[in-house]
């Protein structure tokens, strides 16, 4: 890419940014449309998993209730609090980025990422404990448990990559865009929201 090219895109971006406030608060979409396609589509896919889980559960409710007793609800609660905290950090980082305090925004994203890593560590410990105790996917409830929490785990990994990209962008004054921080936050909130539903369906629902 030539120098004139990059200055051209920079100008275009500046115009974009300048044009944004005139659109007005009501019309503002946090992040970008692409991330919303991802988030809404992903919610539909996960909803289909939840519906299928409920259908199979309704076919043998006693067996599911019995298997559910073996899940450690304490770890589930701690992990829920950890993810909700991380969502709070991400939301704070968006506010800081909007206010132009990028150092603070980066610190909040790091804190959110640390919570994500803690969530994964607890989940890994929980899986190891369950497998060690003999609760493998040979039981239908646990096959749902491992697949649904496993897919969610994969989403946390993707979320950490997204947060990494956000930090990289925030560090570089030429790349900084509030929309990028917002897009990362939108994704991270989705990961959090999905966990709350998974926690309710798998751990809590009687």
């Amino acid at each position: 890419m030539t120098h004139s090219d990059s200055s051209l895109t920079a100008t275009a971006r500046d115009t974009d940014r300048a044009a944004q406030p005139s659109v007005g608060r009501a019309a503002h979409l946090p992040g970008d449309i692409h991330m919303w396609v991802m988030v809404l589509g992903d919610l539909i896919i996960f909803s289909s998993y939840f519906v299928i889980f409920m259908i199979y559960r309704s076919m043998s409710p006693e067996a599911y209730l019995r298997a559910q007793q073996h899940l450690d609800i304490n770890i589930g609660v701690v992990n829920t609090v950890v993810l909700l905290t991380s969502s709070w950090f991400v939301a704070r980082s968006v506010l800081s980025a909007r206010a132009g305090d990028h150092t603070r925004a980066i610190r909040f994203v790091y804190a959110a990422g640390a919570c994500g890593v803690l969530f994964m560590a607890l989940k890994g410990y929980e899986w190891a404990a369950k497998i060690g105790a003999g609760y493998t996917n040979s039981e239908e409830f646990f096959s749902f448990y491992y697949v649904i929490t496993g897919v969610h785990f994969l989403h946390v990994v993707i979320g950490l990559i997204v947060l990494g990209v956000v930090i990289r962008d925030l560090r570089n004054p030429a790349r900084r865009r509030t929309s990028m921080v917002e897009a990362g936050a939108v994704y991270w909130h989705m990961v959090d929201l999905l966990w709350v539903v998974i926690f309710t369906l798998l751990y809590v629902m009687r």
């Binding site: 589509g41 896919i45 299928i52 096959s143 749902f144 994969l154 989403h155």
Partner: protein, 255 residues
């Protein structure tokens, strides 16, 4: 209105052909090939929707005998057309090499899709053709070919994950806006559903079996959305490609 020829499929606003002629041809061929593939697997060979995994050897033999003719017609035609999958991959890789991310990820896409095509298309064809070749074989052996074919065809989806990953990375980092960014996220969904498909090797019945609601049906819906979007995007990007300018791709070795 007619889209039956490449020149009418990819057009400018005034209905004249747009883009480069070779790209036009393969872009037109892309949905044609997948349509033929769909007819073969759904109507002729009957592997999609998949026959049940939780049946006896006698039922598996009955499946092969009942559908012997269409299985033979379908899979023999597929063996001839299979290289067309390589042509469709070449087109995606060509468009990827026009992205600012460069041609390495495009090569990775071709390689990744090529790895998946062997268990995904070739092995199931050979298994089912072998089963219908000698229908009086020991029923247990027919049952083995049935299992082997279906596990290979449905369970090998994970082989495509690397191709989807490099595609998603290329689209997300591309500055030339060859593909829209949301398509990268669709490719990431594909990876997730294909990872779940590994469960088919463990479960002969239920939601995670090779005909299961989660491991098969959700994956098929996501794949259909992905493929439909790709057809639409390839057509748009071919129509937007500048002809005979410096921006035109000169081949991977051009400096």
């Amino acid at each position: 209105m007619s889209i039956l020829s490449p020149d009418r499929y990819i057009t400018r606003a005034d209905k004249s052909p747009a883009g480069r002629p070779d790209v036009r041809l393969v872009t037109w061929f892309f949905p044609v090939w997948y349509a033929a593939f769909g007819v073969i697997i759904c109507l002729l060979a009957r592997v999609t929707p998949p026959p049940r995994p939780d049946v006896s050897a006698a039922d598996k033999v009955a499946f092969m005998t009942t559908h012997a003719l269409t299985i033979q017609v379908g899979f023999v035609v597929l063996l001839i057309l299979l290289g067309g999958a390589g042509m469709t991959n070449a087109l995606v890789a060509y468009q990827m090499s026009r992205m600012s991310t460069g041609p390495v990820l495009a090569y990775a896409y071709i390689g990744g899709m090529g790895v998946g095509a062997l268990p995904g298309f070739l092995l199931v064809s050979v298994c089912f053709l072998t089963a219908t070749f000698r229908p009086d074989r020991d029923p247990e052996l027919i049952g083995l070919l049935y299992d082997l074919g279906m596990l290979s065809y449905n369970g090998s989806l994970g082989c495509f994950s690397a191709a989807y990953l490099v595609l998603a990375i290329a689209v997300l980092y591309d500055k030339n806006e060859i593909f829209p960014k949301w398509f990268a996220y669709l490719s990431i969904w594909q990876i997730v559903t294909e990872v779940i498909a590994t469960q088919m090797f463990v479960f002969p019945a239920g939601p995670f079996a090779w005909n299961g609601s989660i491991s098969f049906w959700v994956a098929v819906v996501v794949f259909s959305v992905w493929l439909g979007s790709l057809i639409f995007i390839l057509r748009n990007t071919a129509a937007r490609e500048p002809v005979d300018t410096d921006e035109t791709f000169q081949g991977p070795t051009a400096g």
